[in-house]
Symmetry: C2
């Protein structure tokens, strides 16, 4: 049985014809369509049979597509029980919470007990307090203790991503003993590819790959095949640190140790990829001046979306009063040469656009670690060069429009104003993310709308000042 | 020896005090500072010794920090030769190209021959044609054939990421035989954790994890422990598909097959994480109306940055002529009530801001696969609800400013115009990414500056139309 690609994930990218993945994708489309039909017919035993041909990730996706909660729980029950936990783990926290509410206590207990500790933490931290309490009651006492200890770490910390289910061996063991132990304990760990080497006091001594054990001589000691260095992190560290470390060092597993070097748990690559995606989404949203939404756009209610957007919109209006005020200062200039208003949007917008470009480049480079605070002066020089180049080009471009609409004098004014405004915008776009980072804000707070707003105010002042200076007009009030 | 964290990666995130990672990070800072000092003193043997304490990734980082190319090649030669290839593979393609130009042919040949085939493709595809040709001459004939066949796949395709270095076993073998084979061939594969099961005609039958072999009964056949389904992709597929598949199915290795199901190669998770970061950066830049830059901001020259930015800036100015034209239509209205210009920036900007929010949410949701074309109508309804809510709030907010600046009549005009403009902006932000995707453009082309520009034009028309209608002014020309 060969199934290639989840469907709804694929529709985003138009698919080329004739590629072999295509047929399989059609298979999945058909399969899912037929399952949806079987669900409508309530032919439950057939549904169960068809589920054998789907990956758990696709079953989870199919559940997500069902909008009726009663139907969803009914369909979930058709999943073979040995795949319940895996299927459940691929649902979003919101869907997990809904499903748990509808399942019988016995069913919920089965899932929660078998869920990986890190997935449990992810679920519990998203739950409303009263639901979390009810959920904890379903767990065994030792699992409750574990869950609470993990939830005790700060939000968005490495501790919240950690699982204590690793496989450990001792440095003095032979490779033969180590392999026998791995074979015996293997199913208990969340990953077997990486094995932790601990001393008698549970301190992390080294990290060994399963492949090194396989390739090693059976009578050698574990110590002798240890690579000799490893990467570890504290549980209190920001989870973005874990992302960076695992990406930088190409790790599949990151070890989490306390201040004495005692191993507390491990973070696995699949969780880190999810975090990386979440963090990027957060940055993305911030750049569009939307507050972080930790939900899929599907699940987010209009109320939530409203709340996440209204704050910035209203704040920006009040900042924009200054744009109005800047215009008010030059009302006499405008009244004298009303034609100047024609050029206002394009000059002002260009400053914002140049700023948006500089800010996007900067915020992303800071997020990936490509640029650090230390690069500040060198980048300022580079941005100034680029900004002047762009400003001259833009000034030239707009001078033609100026000539056409208002003659030589106006052309000169708009060209000069444009060049200055573009340079100003570029610099604002560069400086603001650095400044915010300096003040311990997220540099992505330098959203494009915020940059545009600042560039608007400065742009209006620059434009009308240039006009007033060059056109021998009544000076501003 | 325990070293925790690469330094310059960390400076982006301010570090908390007292966390255990801290000391190790300081170790790395000190170590790197001392190496830089040794480099200045040209104490080469000491440099070599210190390199033993660094991960290859950090050695690569240190090389990146050196600005003098002669010094860089000198320092590279101090890296123990058995770590040359690994260190080299963590440099950017540009740095690899520079280094190869400076190394002797013998040295370059050693590196290129031992580099993973996928890393070789990544390097060759970035090179200027004349350099690529010279580089190919350093390779063995069979490696040249392999490199050319991989480069034959379209740019940004899965084929370009692929390595043919996998470990394969036969379904009829016993687990014992399979393990013996893995032990023998293990070092040749790029990963050992995943083993490919092939039939006599090299067709992919299944994919087995090393852990399943370890946990299996030695006398069972491989076939009996096969999971029974796997995920594969065509080499012509867009590399973003590979990213989605590996993220969706939590894969460490993705198999690439031709139309007959013959295994061509594998894609590994570390390459996919890099691609995911690159693709996200591209989306990020596009949202800020910057053309894709496949270089670090550090390495990008001012000329390159200028070229990547000037196109959109100039295009947007010419679109903005329509904003000017919209204003020109209402020149009489403006002349009659010059106070209206005061509110122009804030009303027009709010439309752009609401649009920026909607577009960012949508573009990101489409990039992560959260939203597909099919969701279009449902999301339109949701966005309309949110947009109306935001419009009413914003109208109310601005009506106070209107009252203060211009009295009841003006307050009514600006409130109504604001509400309409915000709803309009929200809808533009939602619709444009969908529309672009429909027309087979990247939805991220709906950049914030573009949305702002469109919202500007529509906003000006809406605002002055409302004013003309309500204020009993001379009607527009």
């Amino acid at each position: 049985m060969r199934l290639s690609v989840s469907v709804s994930l694929m529709l985003v990218n138009p698919v080329r014809n004739g590629s072999p993945g295509m047929e399989n994708r059609d298979d999945v489309v058909e399969l899912k369509a037929s399952i949806h039909e079987l669900i409508e017919q309530e032919a439950w035993s057939d549904v169960t049979e068809e589920f054998d041909n789907l990956h758990v990730q696709d079953i989870a996706l199919l559940l997500t597509e069902l909008s009726d909660p009663d139907q969803r729980v009914q369909v979930f029950r058709q999943v073979p029980q040995e795949r319940w936990v895996a299927t459940f783990s691929y649902l979003s926290a919101g869907q997990q919470e809904d499903l748990l509410k509808q399942l019988r206590n016995r069913e919920g207990r089965f899932i929660l007990t078998n869920l990986h500790p890190d997935d449990r933490t992810a679920l519990l931290q998203q739950m409303a307090p009263e639901n979390a309490e009810r959920t904890l009651k379903l767990l065994r006492p030792e699992d409750v203790r574990l869950a609470l200890s993990l939830l005790n770490y700060p939000e968005e910390s490495v501790g919240r991503l950690m699982t204590p289910r690793y496989i450990s061996i001792r440095p003095e063991w032979t490779v033969r003993e180590a392999l026998a132990h791995v074979r015996q304990e293997g199913r208990k760990g969340e990953t077997m590819n990486t094995v932790m080497v601990l001393d008698d006091s549970e301190r992390l001594v080294d990290v060994v790959h399963l492949r090194d054990l396989i390739l090693g001589e059976l009578d050698d000691t574990v110590e002798s095949i240890c690579p000799g260095y490893f990467v570890s992190v504290s549980p209190a560290e920001d989870r973005e640190t874990a992302v960076r470390l695992m990406q930088h060092y190409d790790l599949e597993v990151l070890s989490v140790v306390d201040s004495d070097g005692v191993l507390l748990g491990i973070v696995t690559i699949d969780d880190i990829m999810d975090v990386a995606t979440e963090e990027t989404t957060e940055d993305f949203h911030k750049m569009g001046s939307v507050a972080a939404i930790n939900l899929s756009l599907h699940e987010a209610s209009p109320q939530l979306l409203y709340r996440k957007r209204v704050g910035w919109l209203v704040s920006l209006v009040f900042i924009n009063i200054f744009s109005g005020a800047a215009i008010a200062i030059f009302e006499a200039t405008i009244e004298a040469v009303i034609a100047l208003v024609f050029f206002l949007p394009m000059i002002v917008a260009s400053g914002g656009n140049a700023g948006a470009q500089a800010a996007t480049l900067m915020v992303r480079a800071m997020a990936t670690g490509d640029v650090t605070m230390g690069d500040w002066t060198r980048l300022l020089g580079k941005e100034l060069t680029v900004g002047i180049g762009l400003g001259l080009t833009m000034g030239l471009a707009v001078s033609f429009i100026g000539l056409w609409r208002g003659g030589t004098e106006v052309a000169l004014v708009v060209a000069l104003a444009m060049a200055l405004v573009v340079v100003m915008g570029s610099l604002v776009g560069l400086i603001l993310p650095f400044l915010l980072s300096r003040l311990r804000f997220d540099p992505a707070t330098a959203s494009v709308p915020l940059i545009t707003c600042i560039a608007d105010i400065a742009g209006i002042l620059i434009y009308f000042s240039v006009a007033t200076a060059l056109l021998t007009l009544p000076s501003p009030v």
